[in-house]
Amino acid sequence: MITLSHLKKTYGGVTALDVPELTIGDGQIVGLVGNNGAGKTTMMRLILDLIRADQGYVTIDGTRVDLYPVWKTFTGSFLDGTFLVDFYTPEEFFDFIAEAYGFSREELAERLRTYETLMNDEIMGKGKLIHDHSNGNRQKIGIIGAMLVNPRVLILDEPFNYLDPSSQIVVAKLIREMNRDLGTTVLVSSHNLTSINDLCDRLLLLEKGKLLMDKAHVPGSIDPELEAYFLEAVK
């Protein structure tokens, strides 16, 4: 369970995030939506203890993330390119993750089999550094790196960016399967409303750092309120 308590972050006097209370229950797939500058990435960075909260704190399973790093052992995340080791090949990067989380090479090979469809023979065995892969493949490597640890908590920022439609479908399917099989709590942000609608069972809408909407959602359905919000924003 992830909880945000009186969480506030400002940059130069501008509020990037201001969430009095938020709880994400175990096993939920939560979609975080909002226009640019809404505070989605800031929220994720605060959950991952990458930036200091001006007020409040985040807990995962009751433990404050800023005080105790135990969350790192069961959390998988991918926000941007700094979550990749650019000078490694994908194989070495996955080796690094296996070593950091303490699972064997055999176990790693076994887990990687799950992601073969996503990799589509374009990632492994090419002898290319991650730096030299296309943006789409880098995105896939990052997502696999986050999911490979079979996390209890999975945090992905814009995972569908750069991906072709087939890969977007595969990623959504992999997230759903992980959630179903392992009970993983998922927080995923995206500008792609279709993917969010298909995947998530709860939607959070942020605007200028404030939580505007927090509602349950039936995966696969379209949320008219959400559609209306974004249509209204461009009028």
């Binding site: 790093p69 995340s77 700094t82 650019d86 000078f87 490694y88 950091a100 550094l129």
Partner: protein, 412 residues
């Protein structure tokens, strides 16, 4: 005529990129370096003043101008291809002719072209009458600019061939698969796979080693001032092996800190890996130099003590605030990408490096023979014995103010 960004706009963009985010504190590093080199030049002048009185001024001027050859070679080795436009420029209307003109004219203020003239400015004024000194300095500056243009022309046609030979040899020596496990590999592979790091490390190592062998093989190392210089190069070789990576602190890791911070990999572990990579390279350096030391009748205690001192003592000390660093872009290569190329080293690190190197070079002159070796060995062994609690302490210091550094890494 189609629209193109003007020369003025390009120059303004370059200067803004160069100085953006820089504070007065960032000037400390370059000032320390200039003061250091000027000190060396002035000291050298007073040491050789009497010997130079018999040398005709014309010959001396020719010797000065011939330093442009060294400048050319250095640029051939170290300067990257600066002609590549970054994505921002490539997507703007810039005529090729305008870009070429900018590239050529900007060589007149290019930092590598200014380095040698700035360092040798006091030498030109001290070694010659004023007007001749000024003429020599201007000549040197013009030659350096010309070198810059020539090297730019050479480099834009592709990688300079001899680079490949040396790098291929190095890569075969340290094949990636043999460099250790995946977490330790973060250190070794970042060195081997980044041309920016690898070139500096490899060429400086080779330079110091060859100079040492040159002194030794000509018998100059037997005694006196030449012995001092021979030992200077031997020590320099060990210093490069063990210290070079430490100087960047966590700058390399800062480029992919998300991958580290969100995973159960401690800063302590990363620092210890840096330490052990330095020690391993020092060990390899020891194996390389031992046969030469035997050949030149140098006590084996000397290279062993140098290896212990640089790897065990200097390297951890330079990592004392490793986290206070600028992210180093391992793959940076475009013209306007100065990330990692400027302001990477902190003034305190530069100063610390010079102090530690100064001790390494000066102590054998003050205490020749085994006493200096003994001191170096003891200092090095202290480092090896206490490195674990030491790095745990460094990590605690980082964690105390972690957001300051994490936010700095993410903002750059």
């Amino acid at each position: 005529m189609p629209y193109s960004l003007s020369f003025k706009s390009l120059a303004r963009l370059q200067f803004r990129q160069l100085f953006r985010g820089k504070t007065k504190r960032d000037l400390i590093g370059p000032i320390v370096l200039i003061v250091y080199f000027w000190g060396v030049v002035i000291l050298s002048f007073f040491l050789v003043k009497d010997d130079l009185e018999s040398v005709p001024t014309g010959i001396l001027a020719a010797v000065f101008l011939s330093l442009a050859i060294l400048d050319f070679l250095c640029k051939l080795i170290f300067v990257r291809d600066h002609t590549v436009m970054d994505a921002f420029l490539r997507t703007r209307p810039i005529l090729q002719k305008q870009w070429n003109r900018f590239l050529i004219v900007s060589q007149s203020w290019n930092l590598p072209n200014l380095t040698m003239p700035v360092i040798l400015l006091p030498a030109c004024l001290l070694f010659f009458p004023f007007w001749l000194g000024l003429a020599v300095w201007v000549g040197l500056y013009l030659l350096c600019v010309l070198n810059g243009i020539l090297v730019m022309q050479l480099k834009r046609r592709g990688t300079y061939a001899p680079d490949k030979v040396v790098f291929t040899a190095a890569v075969h020596t340290f094949k990636p698969g043999r460099t250790g496990h995946a977490i330790f590999g973060l250190q070794s592979k970042s060195l081997l796979r980044s041309k920016r790091l690898k070139r500096a490390w490899l060429y400086m190592s080779i330079f110091f080693l060859l100079e040492f062998i040159l002194y030794g093989s000509t018998g100059s190392i037997e005694g006196g001032r030449d012995r001092f210089f021979g030992m200077f190069y031997l020590f320099g070789f060990f210093a490069i092996e063990s210290i070079m990576l430490s100087q960047y602190g966590l700058g390399i890791e800062a480029g992919y800190f998300g991958a580290l911070w969100t995973r159960p990999v401690s800063i302590n572990r990363i620092l210890r890996d840096k330490f052990w990579l330095g020690a391993a390279l020092g060990g390899i350096g020891l194996l390389i130099t031992l046969p030469f030391c035997i050949w030149f009748h140098i006590s084996l205690f000397v290279p062993i003590s140098y290896a212990l001192y640089t790897a065990g003592f200097c390297s951890p000390l330079l990592l004392i605030d490793a986290y206070n660093c600028v992210p180093f872009d391992l793959f940076g290569k475009t013209y306007f990408n100065h990330q990692g190329a400027s302001g990477t080293f902190k003034a305190s690190v530069v100063l610390g490096t010079f102090l530690l190197l100064g001790l390494g070079w000066g102590l054998p002159a003050l205490l020749p023979g085994w006493p200096s070796c003994l001191i170096f060995s003891i200092l090095g062994l202290i480092g090896f014995v206490f490195h674990r609690p030491y790095f745990a302490w460094v990590e605690r210091k980082f964690l105390k103010d972690k957001y300051k550094y994490l936010e700095k890494y993410q903002s750059q």
